[in-house]
Each structure stands twice: as structure tokens, then as C-alpha cells.
């Protein structure tokens, strides 16, 4: 049996290593390892809770803002702060902008090269390329001349002998199935998307001052509205947001989605590969009636076990029996044994590297092999991310989601079960982007309506000053990062952070085995994945990239003591 090592996994955020055992051309066993650690929670201890958003936001610069959002919610939850409706809308708009940018960048810049053969595009007929492009979309950049110019540029690039980011790719691999013309469309839109993505993030710049890493604020949003002032959110700023949202919707509907639908039919075999875990978890997000009213979230909250779409189970972040983390295969130690699970409010950690001394060839996968801990929901390994969100929404009876999913599956002639796969994951990401583009405009209209009605409030100052806080408090902030369910747990004592913990999407998906030997999502999804050439692990990248890995925030460590606190806020 051959053991393949892919390290680094590229086109992701962070440092991920996959070791896989291959037998008869298929993966029979897989191990996922995070190989970098920074120590966030130790650093947060003793800080002002109002500063935590800035620290945790730096957990990830790709899905920037999501940790800031989870963090301000955790603090607001702990202190009982209700934010004004406009601040919720601004957060929602920033959320939507992040999703649109992140999902498009993932599709074109992190995932597309697994499906699109750049070198094959050199052989495309520009006239035929133009015909195909115009048959799938009304996007204006589609003339034969446009594709022919691009092809010349690409040819010169390849002939220069300096392939740059395309060097040593798996070009010509038998698993590439697209005709040269669709490859050329893919390359064209790779470059266009690179230009486009820097536009939509300006929504963050307007409300948060910069991107990546815009500013957030406990109690609301830092920007003020004053339609009669140049130095505030006024009609010019709002008009820019509206235009950005409209342009983004057009790009998504005219470029991203048509490309996704044009590529998918050539890879329908991948609707039967990479399914992995049968369990899905979503915390839900995008409040339309305040963060406390979970039933009114655009993305519903819930869990699905054993792919049973007839039942959505209730999820509670403050329930000590629900979310727990294990370390039996992670480079940490617990004071009361290697195999126990701990709820984040009482989590503990001590770094304990027991892996091989670098440079190493293989990890000792029988023992500890990752800096990621292993989270479980009621003891079950769960997949999180776009697929989990779409399935939970579908199973919860959300009409907009059901109609969209059914219509796309209909077009592809695929059953609902096709979603439980590598292709399904990639498709679900596209589907939710369509919804997000519409929702963003709804939130925008609502913000305008509020301002028109005279409500310009952005901040609730009632509990801003620490002397208004109780001696001890704890809270949870739940959110949906583009990559899946995200939660921060905070314990505040004497006005300072006593314990702070993050359980993030890639920790759910990329973690090592638990004490029962249950595999997490990546490891599980890789089993059964074909590998045509172990020197060119293209198929491994397809399945791993379908999750959109983001490792920097998945690895962190916890305060060693769990402190009893009397005040418990639920959400």
C-alpha cells in the first residue's frame, strides 16, 4: 500500500498536510494534519473584551470579518447588549460582501485549477469559445477577439518558460475533462474575477474603513449615519454600497454561476465521490429581526444526522453536552485524561508536541498528528460549510432554498443525493452565493428605509463602560463563516477576558480522529477518492478544496483553567 503525502496543500489559507494510503488506485485511509500553531487564546487572556474582535479577526485574513462578528456577538451575549437594527444591517451587508468575494475567489483562484486545464486552453478555437460563452451568459466580454487576445497572451506566457503560479501544475492529467474552449473561458474568468474581487470588498471599506480586517465595534457598528454630512455615511456612501452590491450580483449571475453550471456536467462522476460524513451542522446567520430571534435568520440553525433530511435537530452552543473538543490525536494534553471531551467554556490546553523531529517524512498517525483539536456535536463528527447550510435550510423547509436547489439539480439531471459529494459541496457554495446576492440588496433597501424613517442609530452605549458590567459573565457568539459554523466562547471576569475560545469551521472539517476512532470530514471524504497517479494527487486536491480549507484559525490553544461563573446568558 502506498502512502502519499501532500504537504503543503496549496491554494488554501494556512498549513495543511494530508497523508493518504492508496490501494488499487483508490484512497483507503487518510490523515489530515494542521502543522502550524500561534496561540491565540493564551494571548487573549487578560485583555479588554471590547478589543477581542480585533485580535480574533486576525485569526484569518481570507475570511476576514467573520471572527470579528462572532467575537462582538460573544461579548454582547455575555453582557446582554442589544444592538440597533441599523448596526445589524451593516453587519449583514458586510457579511454578504464577504461571502460574495470569498466564494468567487475560492471558485476561481483556489478551486478552478483542479478542474480547468490552463495549458489545454491554448488549443481552444476562439470562435467556438465565444459561441459557448454567449450561449451560457449575457456577460459582455465574450467576443471571439476577446478570447483570441487572451489566448495570445497565454501563449506568450507559456512560451516565456516562466510559468510562475502555473509551474508544475498537473496539466494534461487524465482527470481533466473539459474541452479546450471551456478551459479558455475558465482562464478568462480567473483573470476577470481577480480584478472583480477587489471591488465588492469596498463595502467593508465604507463601513469598516479597510479590507482586509475592517473595524467592528461591541454594541453596534463604528460608522455613523448623517445624510447631511460629508464625514459620515451619507447618500454618496450609500449609493456606492448599492452600486457595489448590484455589480456583484451581476458578476455572480452572469459569470460565476454560468461557469459552475458549464463545468459541472463534465464532472458528474464527482457527484458520487467525496461524500464523507453523513452529518451536517449549521449555526445559522443573517438575522432579520435581531440576533436573539433565531427563527428569523436567513440561514437557519440546526443539525442533520445520517443524511436524514426529514429531521432538523436543535443546536445550542451553551449546552455543555453538545459541542465538545477532544485531543486524543492532537498535540495537547488534558489534566484528566487523553480521551475526554470538553465544552469550550471549560476547555483546557497544554501544548504537547509528540510528533517526529523535523525534517520528517511521515507523521505518526497512530498517535497524535495535528495541531487541530477534534470538535464533536453530541459525540458525532459533523461537516460544516455551504453544503451543511444548504441542507439544513432545505430540510428546515426554507422555500427559497428548496426552489433554487431543485431547479439546479433539475438542470443537471441529478438527484438530491448528488449533493452529498465533492461536486455537491462546490455546487452548494455557488447556490448560496445566488441567495446572498439577493439578500444583500434586501438588507440595503431596509437600511435605506430605516434612515428615511429617521432611524440613524448605529451604536448602543448603555453597557460600553466596564463599570456597568457584572463581576463575571460568559457568552457565546455564533455565526456562519463562508467555510461553515463558527463560534466564540468568552468568559469575562473583573472586566477582563478570563477565558476565550474559538471553535472554527476548519477545526470541524480538518481535525484528526476522535478517541472512538471516528474520522472528521476531510479524512472521511477522501476515502474512496480515486488517485490515477500518486505523483500528481489532483483528485485529493479536488475533494479537499471542495471544503475551502482555511487553517490558520483552525489551530489555537486554550486557557488551562475552566472557571465557574454564576451568570449564564443564553441566546
Amino acid at each position: 500500500m502506498a502512502r502519499i503525502v501532500v504537504d503543503p496543500i496549496t491554494r488554501i489559507e494556512g498549513h495543511l498536510r494530508i497523508e493518504a494510503e492508496v490501494q488499487n488506485g483508490k484512497i483507503v485511509n487518510a490523515y489530515s494534519s494542521g502543522t502550524m500553531v500561534r496561540g491565540f487564546e493564551l494571548i487573549l487572556k487578560g485583555r479588554d473584551p471590547r478589543d477581542a474582535w480585533a485580535f480574533t479577526e486576525r485569526a484569518c485574513g481570507v475570511c476576514t470579518t467573520v471572527h470579528a462578528l462572532a467575537s462582538v456577538r460573544a461579548v454582547e451575549n455575555a453582557l446582554g447588549i442589544i444592538i440597533p437594527p441599523n448596526a445589524e444591517l451593516v453587519r449583514n451587508l458586510m457579511f454578504c460582501a464577504q461571502y460574495m468575494q470569498d466564494h468567487v475567489v475560492h471558485f476561481y483562484h483556489l478551486h478552478a485549477l483542479d478542474w480547468v486545464d490552463v495549458v489545454s486552453a491554448l488549443k481552444a478555437d476562439p470562435n467556438e469559445t465565444s459561441r459557448i460563452a454567449q450561449s451560457i451568459s449575457s456577460w459582455p466580454k465574450s467576443s471571439p477577439k476577446y478570447f483570441s487576445d487572451l489566448q495570445k497572451r497565454l501563449t506568450a506566457f507559456v512560451n516565456s518558460g516562466q510559468l510562475g503560479i502555473f509551474a508544475n501544475g498537473y496539466w494534461g492529467h487524465p482527470a481533466y475533462k473539459l474541452p479546450p474552449e471551456i478551459n479558455l473561458i475558465g482562464v478568462a474568468h480567473y483573470l476577470e474575477a481577480l480584478e472583480w474581487q477587489k471591488e465588492i470588498v469596498k463595502v467593508h471599506t465604507i463601513f469598516g474603513g479597510k479590507n482586509p480586517h475592517p473595524n467592528y465595534l461591541v454594541g453596534g457598528a463604528p460608522c455613523s449615519v448623517n445624510i447631511d454630512e460629508a464625514n459620515a455615511i451619507n447618500s454618496e456612501r450609500l449609493a456606492m454600497v448599492g452600486q457595489l452590491l448590484k455589480d456583484a450580483k451581476e458578476f455572480i449571475n452572469q459569470v460565476y454561476i454560468p461557469d459552475l453550471l458549464a463545468v459541472a456536467p463534465y464532472y458528474l462522476d464527482w457527484a458520487g465521490i467525496g461524500g464523507g460524513l453523513p452529518n451536517y451542522l449549521a449555526y445559522g446567520d443573517l438575522p432579520t429581526n435581531g440576533y436573539a430571534d433565531v427563527a428569523k435568520f436567513k440561514f437557519p440553525r440546526g443539525a442533520i444526522l445520517n443524511r436524514n433530511l426529514n429531521e432538523v435537530l436543535e443546536v445550542d452552543g451553551s449546552d455543555a453536552e453538545q459541542v465538545q473538543e477532544f485531543i486524543s490525536h492532537s498535540w495537547y494534553e488534558y489534566s484528566d485524561g487523553n480521551d475526554v471531551g470538553k465544552h469550550p467554556w471549560v476547555g483546557e490546553t497544554k501544548l504537547n508536541y509528540t510528533g517526529p523531529k523535523p525534517p520528517y517524512e511521515y507523521l505518526n498517525v497512530e498517535e497524535k498528528y495535528s495541531w487541530l483539536k477534534t470538535p464533536r456535536w453530541k459525540g458525532n463528527p459533523m461537516e460544516v460549510g455551504p453544503l451543511a447550510r444548504m441542507l439544513v435550510a432545505y430540510a428546515s423547509g426554507r422555500k427559497d432554498v428548496q426552489e433554487l436547489v431543485n431547479s439546479v439539480l433539475g438542470k443537471l439531471g441529478a438527484p438530491v443525493t448528488a449533493l452529498f459529494s465533492t461536486l455537491g459541496r462546490t455546487a452548494a457554495r455557488g447556490l448560496e452565493t445566488i441567495l446572498i446576492a439577493d439578500w444583500g440588496l434586501e438588507f440595503y433597501d431596509q437600511l435605506l428605509a430605516n434612515i428615511k424613517n429617521g432611524d440613524t442609530r448605529m451604536f448602543n452605549k448603555d453597557k460600553w463602560e466596564p463599570d456597568t458590567w457584572p463581576g463575571e459573565a460568559k457568552g457565546v457568539g455564533l455565526s456562519e463563516a463562508p467555510r461553515g459554523a463558527l463560534a466564540h466562547w468568552i468568559v469575562i471576569k473583573d472586566k477582563l477576558i478570563d477565558n476565550y475560545q474559538l471553535v472554527v469551521p476548519s477545526t470541524w472539517n480538518a481535525s484528526p480522529r476522535d478517541p472512538k476512532g471516528q474520522l472528521s470530514a476531510y479524512e472521511s471524504a477522501l476515502i474512496g477518492t480515486p488517485v490515477a497517479n500518486s505523483e500528481q494527487p489532483l483528485e485529493i486536491l479536488r475533494t479537499i478544496h471542495s471544503f475551502d480549507p482555511c487553517l490558520a484559525c483552525a489551530v489555537h490553544l486554550y486557557d488551562e483553567k475552566g472557571t465557574y461563573v454564576h451568570q449564564i446568558q443564553t441566546f
Partner: protein, 374 residues
């Protein structure tokens, strides 16, 4: 057949840019990097004759915000230049190859272009426990950075992580996170701090290296003078409010709605050297202060440990200018005179040293207090 590498000008022609576009870009570039009109010819010549610079981009302890910021660089032609004029042979974020093939691409560049490649580093390097807190391809970041640095033409340390350690180096720095300049010696290093740095500043730094084949003028901390010689406070469009004693007293109050100075909300503009007030963010759309939140000082070393973000600077004893500013808020009558006096003091370099000393003293006191409490 492999042809001779294309020059920057040839590459631009391939993309359909006219000679006029090319010259426009060259003159923009000249202005961007502060060259006199008479020097324009040398830029044009350099770009007509140079092939693509081999570049390797490393990721260590980081969050990839620098890469993300880099691709936000706004002037359209610049992103083409960056993609097509340098040869980005290794980057975990964007490259097609993974695993062995990615490492092979890295080593091919390092061997073939020994002493000629540009090394870009995003992230700090953990040094505790022999560096096992960050491994790539089974090797420690520490090992990788030392090897790659030895034969690099120059190093650009992107962002605060690589320049000063940033968040993972914040107290108590659990993994021994260390900036590049404390690990590497003998190779020129350009520090481009910020969390992240502004995209156009990153592009501008590369473009400078590309066009002139030499590193830009650096300050005492190794930062390009073009972008880090002014305090955010000195280039802030809200500065007149500061000088007039007009301050935001609480987020979203009436003064916030008028865009008054955010100094009392903890703004670090007075102690932060960066181009935010001039270049602004995301093609000049805004910057933190313009959007209502104070600067958190993300381009300064140890900014995470320089006190809570919403505690304003006067809370640091000995920080004369801010004590003055506090008085301004109270006694409006003397605001203008005091503001001018404060201004004069604030631009004094000696004062900056005092401020930094004070911050360092506070930081040490904080660590000592915590250690004493264990």
C-alpha cells in the same frame, strides 16, 4: 520551444496595451515612487529590457491577510504587472501545484536563480521548541527561511507578522514568534508593516524593486520612507478637528456624526507611521478614521500590547502631547494655541522616542505584573 523571457514592455504589448498606455504607466510609476520627470526615461528603458523577476512567497505564522491585501491592489494595470511581470514561482495561496511539485518549483527557482530571486515572507517564524510550531513539507519554517534567505537577492517582510511579530508575538508570545530581521542576516530586508499593509503600498514596493533594480530608501526600522515617514495623525483629514479641540466623546454621538477627531476614542494615529491618511484603502475609498473607528496602530511594533484600543493615549504617563490634548477638550478657549504648540512638539523625533520608551516601559511593567501573579 522556450523563447527568451519577455520584457515588461513586450508583455504589456501582448496584453493589448498600447505604447501610449505603457508610457502612461511608466509615468504613473515614476510619480508613485517619487522620481523626477527627468528620470522617467530610465524607468521606460528598464521596463523595455527587463524580463520577469523570479519571486518566491513564503507563508509562516500568518493569516494570509497580506496576500489578500496584495490582490486588492487597485490600479488595474498594476495587478497585471504583478501577475505578468514577476514570475511568482512559489506561493502556497495561488499556485496550481501542491506537495512535492510545489516544493520542486521552489527549489528549481532557488537553484536556477541563485542570488537573483526575490524572497517575500508573510508571517513570523516560531523559534520555541526548535521551531516545531510551524512545519511545511516536514521542515520547520526556521529551517526553510534560513536556507531560502541565504541566496535571495533581497527579502520583503510583508506585514506586521514578518516585520515585528504581530499578534502571535503579543504577550505572552506562546510560540516564540519572531520577525524575519531577527533571524536573517546578510541579506537586505525591506519591512512593510501593517495588519495588513495597504495593497497599493505592497504593489508599490514590488514595482520599485522591479523598475529600479534596487531597494527603496528605508528608514531606521527598515521601512520604505515613501510610505512610512508620516504619522497617520499628520496626514489625517480630521486633523483640523483635533487642532480645534473638537472630539468624539462616544461612538455615534453628535460629534461622531459630524466626523470630529477620534483621539478620545483611543485613536493611535498620533503614534502610527503609515500611509492610510494619504493613500487610503481599497483604491482610496476610505480608511479606518474616515469610517468612524480610531486607528489601532497596526503598523507599529507591539501594537497589540500598547494598552486597550479604546483607552486613549493620555493614559500613558509622560505622553505630553496627549495631556495637552485632553486639556484642549476641556478648555476650548485655548484650543488653537495649545493645538499648535502640541503639533510642534509632536513632530519632534525625540518625542517619539519618549513615547516608545514609555510604551515599552508599560509593556514590561504589564508582563512583570502578570509574571508576579503566577
Amino acid at each position: 520551444m522556450v523563447q527568451k523571457p519577455l520584457t515588461i514592455y513586450e508583455n504589456m504589448q501582448m496584453q493589448g496595451y498600447s505604447r501610449r498606455d505603457f508610457l502612461k504607466f511608466a509615468s504613473w510609476l515614476a510619480a508613485f515612487i517619487g522620481v523626477e520627470a527627468s528620470g522617467l526615461g530610465s524607468i521606460v528603458k528598464a521596463m523595455e529590457t527587463k524580463s520577469r523577476l523570479p519571486v518566491v512567497w513564503f507563508h509562516f505564522q500568518e493569516c494570509t491577510c497580506c496576500s489578500e491585501s496584495f490582490i486588492r491592489s487597485s490600479h488595474p494595470i498594476v495587478s497585471d504587472i504583478i501577475l505578468d511581470k514577476i514570475s511568482l514561482d512559489y506561493t502556497e495561496t495561488l499556485q496550481a501545484a501542491a506537495g512535492h511539485q510545489a516544493e520542486a518549483a521552489l527549489h528549481e527557482t532557488m537553484d536556477k536563480h541563485k542570488g537573483e530571486y526575490l524572497m517575500l515572507v508573510e508571517g513570523s517564524v516560531p523559534t520555541e521548541e526548535d521551531g516545531i510550531y510551524c512545519c511545511i513539507g516536514g521542515r520547520t519554517a526556521l529551517d526553510i527561511v534560513k536556507q531560502a534567505a541565504a541566496d535571495a537577492k533581497a527579502i520583503v517582510a510583508w506585514g506586521s507578522c514578518a516585520s515585528n511579530g504581530c499578534i502571535q508575538a503579543a504577550n505572552p508570545n506562546p510560540t516564540g514568534a519572531t520577525p524575519i530581521h531577527k533571524i536573517v542576516s546578510g541579506t537586505p530586508i525591506i519591512n512593510v508593516p501593517g495588519c495588513p499593509p495597504i495593497g497599493e503600498v505592497m504593489a508599490g514596493t514590488i514595482v520599485h524593486l522591479l523598475a529600479f533594480d534596487r531597494i527603496p530608501q528605508l528608514d531606521g526600522l527598515g521601512r520604505p520612507k515613501a510610505f512610512y515617514s508620516r504619522r497617520v495623525h499628520d496626514t489625517c483629514y480630521r486633523r483640523p478637528n483635533y487642532d480645534a479641540g473638537l472630539f468624539v466623546e462616544s461612538f455615534d454621538d453628535e460629534n461622531a456624526k459630524r466626523g470630529y477627531c477620534l483621539y478620545k476614542m483611543g485613536c493611535r494615529g498620533p503614534v502610527t507611521y503609515n500611509a492610510c491618511g494619504v493613500t487610503r484603502w481599497n483604491n482610496g475609498v476610505s480608511f479606518p478614521i474616515q469610517s468612524g473607528h480610531g486607528c489601532i496602530g497596526c503598523s507599529e511594533a507591539n501594537f497589540w500590547d500598547n494598552g486597550p484600543f479604546y483607552q486613549h493615549l493620555a493614559s500613558f504617563p509622560g505622553f505630553g502631547i496627549e495631556t495637552t490634548a485632553d486639556d484642549i477638550g476641556v478648555v476650548l478657549g485655548v484650543a488653537t494655541a495649545a493645538g499648535i504648540a502640541a503639533h510642534a512638539v509632536s513632530t519632534n523625533i525625540r518625542k517619539k522616542k519618549l513615547i516608545n520608551d514609555e510604551i515599552e516601559k508599560n509593556r514590561i511593567a504589564k508582563i512583570e505584573k502578570e509574571e508576579g501573579g503566577l
